[in-house]
């Protein structure tokens, strides 16, 4: 099998795709944020239960390709339990990484490195971005005092 393909569909990506984390519904959603990539039809629903300024529980439901599902699953695994500010910082870091910037990931986020493989497939970058952009959008609205985003996030206008 060709190497770029294996770079993108790394074992860790395929593992997240086959058994995505964050499937559990949250008890009460303090943040609701939807994302979609109209051009490919991918749709994502995100709900976050906040407690003491941290993302206590996160629910991610993504109807999309292996990359968008795996990326959303990794997001759920990584940001759950983190303070809002830290979650936002990580999301921004991933966004910049996917857009080709040379960013240094902290050790405890090492798994996210697996997402770098999509950068060799320009048309697929937006798949990996979808969940992170949806989170950024949701956190911004939460801080502005709105629990629901008015319009779904899309990587097509957040790039």
């Amino acid at each position: 099998m060709s190497e770029p393909l294996d770079d993108m569909y790394r074992d860790i990506i395929m593992d997240h795709y086959r058994s995505p984390r964050g499937k559990q519904p949250v008890k009460s959603a303090d943040i609701r944020s939807d994302g979609s990539n109209p051009a490919c039809g991918d749709e994502l629903e995100m709900q976050v239960e906040m407690h003491d300024g941290t993302l206590k529980h996160i629910h991610v439901d993504c109807k999309g390709c292996a990359i968008s599902v795996a990326s959303g699953s990794m997001l759920a695994e990584i940001v759950e339990g983190r303070p809002l500010e830290e979650a936002r910082r990580i999301a921004e870091l991933v966004r910049r990484m996917l857009k080709g910037e040379d960013v240094e990931l902290p050790d405890d986020l090492g798994d996210l490195d697996a997402l770098k493989g999509v950068r060799q497939f320009p048309v697929r970058i937006k798949c990996a971005l979808l969940s992170w952009v949806t989170l950024i959008n949701g956190l911004e609205n939460y801080e502005r005092g709105k629990a629901d985003s008015d319009t779904p996030a899309t990587t097509e206008d957040r790039e």
């Binding site: 993108m8 569909y9 490919c40 039809g41 292996a66």
Partner: protein, 425 residues
Amino acid sequence: MRTNTNNRPATVQTARSRLDTNRIKRDFPILEEKINGHRLVYLDSAATSQKPRVVINAILDFYRRKNANIHRGIHSLAEKATAAYEHTRKRVAHFIGDVDPEEVIFTRGTTEGINLLAYTWGEANIREGDEIVITEMEHHANLVPWVILAQKKKAILKRIPITLCGHLDLSNIDDIITPKTRLLAMMHMSNVLGTINPVAELTESAHRQGAIVLADGAQAVPHMAVDVKALGVDFYAFSSHKMLGPTGVGVLYGKRALLEAMLPFNMGGEMIREVRFDRITWNEIPHKFEAGTPDIANVVAFEAALTYLEELGMDKIREHEIALTKYAIGRLSEIDGLEIQGPQEAELRGGAISFTDRDIHPHDISTFLDTKGIAIRAGHHCAQPLMRILGKIATARASLYIYNDEADIDALIDALIDMRRYFGV
């Protein structure tokens, strides 16, 4: 894994005797390209077709030997360019069933042809309460202009639904096309389902109610003999680039009386007869609708595409595609977990074959196939409402043309089998 190589349906053998795909492939320089280390297997002709050497050469030849602006030049080159441009118009007129060349308007493509109609005829003729009828399988090109026009004019947009098998459901057609219907806008062949729609039959129903009919022929004209007079339609739009010709060129056919009654679409040079600061008269059709300098070189080269298709014979092309579609559907059905959209009978459809995999998203399918040199399309195919009806967020689509053969289908099938193994499903 090669499966079933000795056990191919006899129809494919027949197809082979009909179109010599080995010879045809050699006429298309791009098919010699290596894609990710593999031979290019091009299965995306419904998006755009590849171009034979004669078309590529015709573009070069125009710029090398004939280039000048058309219609108003009083020098030899301008006459040469004008003659070549107008020659394509005559050839198009012949190609779609011997219509009057003056009823052939060059546009930038199918989309522009439909917009021309919406902004001129639609603007002048659609009023509040009028009904515009479309189908549920329309491409956005024949959907968005009518949605917008209906909203603007407070007209009513009605839809002909589709059946589970991907045909138009005509059971309640008399409730859909009524005396209030002013326009029926429908695609001739679906770019997603492959369905060939009963344009002539529906045109008759629409005409009985006094409506006019536009057919979007973008997917039909490249693949089958189309006679717009036999279909009876008032307008018919299609694109050069899906039928071996260059991009940037399309055709809107319209019946003379309707075209003459319409206002121009774009205003500027060429479309006028006489201009004063306070009074302007329009040029004759078709020039009234061709303001500004058109894509002369590509219109001229489009003629080479028409000649190429005519030499193969549109009926033979259709037979080739029926046989190959039958083979492709049969082989795709061998793969567990694949679901094919649209009619399963090759005789009732074209060679745009949409499918989904139970376990693998169309984008992952397309990325995987690309690494094997196989080009297909994945997404909503500019038919989001249809996708919602089908209950899919996207489909993968392999689409066939004259240069495809059973070896291309076998490459696709082998890669899909590999793919399912790779993804562990």
